[in-house]
């Protein structure tokens, strides 16, 4: 408990170095370091969902024969980025339109407006959204209603007799499938 008063007759009013002052300074510095040491991993943990690389992988959708030419069919796949306790939410549906022998269009299920699941009506050749009434033509382009663009489309590849698509994330206006 040393009393560190100002030195009498000192020319400059510089605060004197006292044991208490050093201790407080050391304490503050140590706490800042400690908080950073703990804080950085915590932030890294919470933000681990942010990856510089997008979530993209090639996924098999099934044999080509499942998709008859000139028709649009619902296909489902298991998302490649999952944990075992995802349950049924790991199953992702998409619409597969087979135009020709080797020519496809694969659409995300999510309406480009606010993400609701669009339904295909083969009779009228339209996709309709049950939420706000967005409608798309069979090629995925916007037909009417509030969507700001056409349906989100997957990149696809034919490998042997299988259809593969590139995807892995929920499509929004900010990021593709």
């Amino acid at each position: 408990m040393a009393e560190g008063g100002p030195q009498p007759g000192a020319p400059a009013p510089a605060p004197p170095v006292t044991r208490r002052g050093v201790l407080i300074g050391l304490g503050v510095a140590l706490n800042v370091v400690g908080a950073a040491l703990i804080g950085v991993p915590v932030i890294g943990y919470i933000a681990s969902a942010l990856r510089t690389r997008s979530y993209q992988a090639w996924i098999p959708l099934g044999k080509l024969a499942v998709f008859p030419e000139g028709q649009t069919r619902l296909a489902t796949y298991t998302n490649p980025f999952t944990v075992p306790w995802d349950g049924v939410t790991a199953n992702v549906p998409c619409w597969v339109r087979r135009i020709g022998a080797e020519k496809f269009q694969v659409f995300a299920i999510n309406c480009a407006h606010l993400g609701c699941p669009v339904r295909w009506f083969p009779e009228s050749g339209l996709f309709m959204c049950p939420c706000h009434g967005g409608v798309y033509y069979e090629d995925g382009s916007r037909a009417s209603g509030p969507p700001p663009r056409g349906l989100f489309e997957y990149e696809y590849e034919i490998r042997g007799d299988e259809l593969w698509v590139r995807g892995g994330q929920l499509p929004t206006l900010a990021g593709p499938v």
Binding site: I46, A47, A49, L50, R51, S54, Y55, L74, T76, N79, F81, T82, V83, P84, W85, D86, G87, V88, T89, A90, N91, V92, P93, I109, N110, H113, L114, G115, C116, P117, V118, R119, F121, E123, S124, G125, L126, M128, C129, P130, C131, H132, G133, V135, Y137, E138, A143, S144, G145, P146, P147, P148, G168, Q169, L170, T172, L173, A174, G175
Partner: protein, 492 residues
């Protein structure tokens, strides 16, 4: 609770022993018995404490639910079903929790409106108002995250809608989406994130801020009943308030709190009744995104938002999603700073009344629209809704063929006949009286606005039949529209 100064019983001695250490008599008693203006012991001043009561009910029932509920995407839905049908009183606790949420939001809203109309936010209670606004937002946050806990189809697609809005942020959109979802899709980590928010983060914040809110109420004093003409000035208000309290104040406990206690009892009984009679909310279908035969709807408080997004012109959506919440929150937070002094009474603030009425009319109308959601196509009307008999009776084969096309091509999903079918487009019961044959043909082939063009999706003979059906749609006494360029033929 001190005993009379008589020979002390054992209980009193235990009390003394405790108070010697806890010092409640000098720390807790003064705020409990602090004097409040007599005029504030009014039925209008019970809504804050009732909101707090609901929060306590939510904590108790929430902890009980957490004993059984499994916050895992693969198990949550099953555990909700277990709560509803197997766990004794599980359905009732779920019901209490969801009705408790409705009660809390409702009472909090009434409290907010009362504080606004009574000018209670003015000097020197600005901070109480600001903290109250944060409490309001946190409570709405609890309502939304709670809807996610009920992990069913509505929760799944509700999350999808939430992140679709976030995806509209420029530059940071995609990162924001992944941060909220905890990964690339709605799944296990999403539910865990919302569970953490709903059970730890937001309630912790609420507890802390409720403490600050109550501290401010005690330290600054509860608002006196506003008298028309008694203006608030920064110079004199504090003195006037203390004078008022000294003159006609009474202790908060037991006088001031009487009506709060009665109302608390009423709230508890009403909550029990609603929970017992109406039962728990959902869950509806499993949160399986491959079950696409679903019509997602938000919970009650968010129906107005749902309506806004259906009715806004598309070009306004993104700018409004990005700016409106910030502007509205800023306007609410800053209210006591741009309206700091002056008249408090609602009797001399007609603008306040008008604002409250306009806001509630808007919210009410939007909620009502959200409930009926006329903009949503009726997805099964084309196959499941019968054609009214009078529209097929006595029609030509071509017109009957058109009636079939009308159903088979999903027109009915957006256009009603005889009041049944979608409301997205206009009802077509008398379309022939407003559009000529040519106009109908053009509308069918080219569409416009909210109607897709059917040109590529109808064969010529189908168009002919459909248009024949539609041009026959007019009341018996009112002729069909005819193009002015075609001279009327006798009998034609």
């Amino acid at each position: 609770m001190s005993a009379p100064a008589q020979p002390k019983g054992r209980l009193a001695r235990v009390g003394e022993w405790l108070d010697f250490r806890l010092k409640f008599r000098e720390s807790i008693l003064p705020p409990i018995a602090h004097p409040v203006p007599k005029s504030s012991a009014s039925w209008w001043y019970v809504f804050g404490s009732a909101t707090l009561l609901c929060f306590v009910v939510q904590i108790v029932t929430g902890m009980c639910l957490a004993l059984v509920y499994v916050p895992s995407a693969s198990e949550a839905w099953t555990s909700l079903e277990y709560l509803n049908y197997v766990q004794p009183f599980g359905w009732f606790l779920r019901s209490l929790h969801s009705w408790g949420s409705n009660f809390m939001v409702t009472l909090m809203t009434i409290h907010l409106v009362q504080v606004y109309l009574f000018g209670a936010y003015k000097y020197p209670r600005e901070l109480t108002w600001v903290v109250g606004c944060v409490l309001f937002l946190c409570t709405l946050g609890m309502a939304f995250t709670g809807q996610v806990m009920r992990f069913d189809q509505d929760a799944y697609w509700g999350l999808g809608i939430g992140v679709a809005m976030m995806g509209r942020f420029p530059v940071i959109g995609e990162s924001l989406v992944h941060l909220v979802l905890g990964g690339p899709i709605i799944g296990a980590e999403t539910l865990s994130r919302f569970f953490t928010l709903h059970v730890f983060a937001v309630p912790g914040l609420l507890l802390m801020l409720i403490g600050v809110h109550l501290w401010l109420v005690i330290k600054v004093g509860i608002n006196e009943w506003p008298m028309p003409g008694r203006l608030v000035t920064r110079e004199r208000y504090s003195d006037e308030y203390h004078e008022l309290v000294a003159k006609e104040g009474e202790p908060f406990v037991p006088q001031g709190v009487q009506k709060d206690i009665v109302f608390a009892g009423i709230v508890l009984v009403a909550l029990f009744a609603c929970a017992a009679v109406f039962g728990p909310a959902g869950p509806n279908g499993q949160p399986d995104p491959t079950l696409i035969e679903t019509v997602p709807r938000p919970d009650f408080f968010f129906l107005s938002l749902f309506a806004v997004f259906a009715l806004l012109p598309p070009y306004l959506e993104t700018p409004l999603i990005l700016t409106a919440p910030v502007v509205l929150v800023a306007l609410a937070f800053l209210l006591p700073f741009y309206s700091n002094t002056g008249e408090k009474s609602w009797k001399r603030r007609p603008g306040a009344w008008i604002l409250v009425i306009v806001v509630f009319l808007c919210l009410g109308t939007l909620t009502w629209l959200g409930l009926s959601s006329p903009w949503s196509p009726d997805m099964s009307a084309w196959s499941g809704t019968p054609t009214p008999v009078e529209y097929v009776k006595g029609r030509t084969p071509l017109e009957l063929q058109g009636a079939l096309v009308f159903q088979a091509k999903q027109c009915r999903n957006c256009h009603s006949l005889g009041g049944e079918g979608g409301m997205r487009g206009p009802a077509l019961d008398d379309v022939a009286t407003v559009q000529t044959r040519d106009e109908i043909v053009r509308q069918v082939l080219q569409g416009d606005g909210n109607m897709p063009a059917y040109g590529k999706n109808l064969k010529p003979q189908e168009v002919t039949a459909l248009v024949a059906f539609l041009t026959a749609m007019h009341p018996a006494g009112e002729p069909a529209q005819r193009s002015a360029t075609i001279p009327a033929r006798p009998g034609g």
